[in-house]
Amino acid sequence: MDRNQIGKWLRNPAKMANKYSLHAVYFCTGCGIIEIPPVITTRWDAERFGVLPVATPRQGNLFMITGYVSLKTLKAIIRTYEQMPDPKYTVGFGSCPINGGMYWDSYNTIKHLDRYIPVDGWIAGCMPRPEAVFVGVTHLWTLIDKGKADGYLRYRKNYAAYRRNQEMLFGELDWSPLYPVGDEAEEAKR
């Protein structure tokens, strides 16, 4: 262990433990997922950075959206994101989740991922190299250190707005709200 970090470990052990055990949900969307197998296996070995793929969202805390997001995928992404335990971090990987990328005028691909779920960081590129994933992970460490990777808190706080955007796209959603919205939220506050 790095001796310089002993102070940090003593001050906030939970945060530090969280930081070095990023478990990525193995959720494949778009073309970016082709970069993930080399990242997690011997060539680049993401385990050096404490990043491991997990089979189910209920065990993961890092969610990488690896490419264009079609409407059908967005539904799955929202449900997966809501199943992950707090604290959870979302990273948009590639240019398509940022602003649509090369699918900017596609009829069935969403353009801005952060209008539907909160995103903590972006990795730009089409495609990003595996090294970029590690640069992204180290940036995410810094954000976690400073308490700025607070997407899950923003989701709770702005849930009504996120849910409204999701419903603008899909109409009636066939699952119940994760947090209370509308009248229920008023009651909960009281």
Partner: protein, 168 residues
Amino acid sequence: MNASLRTGLEATFKGVEVTGPRDGMMSVSAPSDSIPVVLGYLKDQGLDHLALVSCVDWIDQGKFEVIYLLTCYMRNDTDYSAEQRLHVLLRTEVPRESPSLRSVIEVFANAEPYEREIHELYGVHFEGHPRLIPLFLERHYEVPPFRKDFDTRAYVEQTFGSIPPVED
């Protein structure tokens, strides 16, 4: 097989035009109401694999062209070689105003998802299809999105542009 298939098709069906085969591809155009019978005939002739059903929107001519691509898995003939392998393109045209075709599920059961896809992306109706429900799309589209008169940019502007950012 190629020559006999050609004469057989032209002798059996009225209004069937055969061109080719060129580069192993034979093109057959048939009137839209005879599609299931022609497909059945081709299936009996050994073309037992429907590889895909596709559609083209010829907006200037006011019609859709529906294309069935047929090939054969394996023949027991000893003389069957790569040079003799044959693909058959069966084309038909339907008017753009009321596009409707007879479903070919009775002949090739695997046409079911292709017909559903063409129905939702082009708005071509398939009579006798058991469930023409959406396959890929999540939203309702006024104009089916693969038609040439579907304005993608206006749609994107209107749909995705209207969703506000949650925070800045």
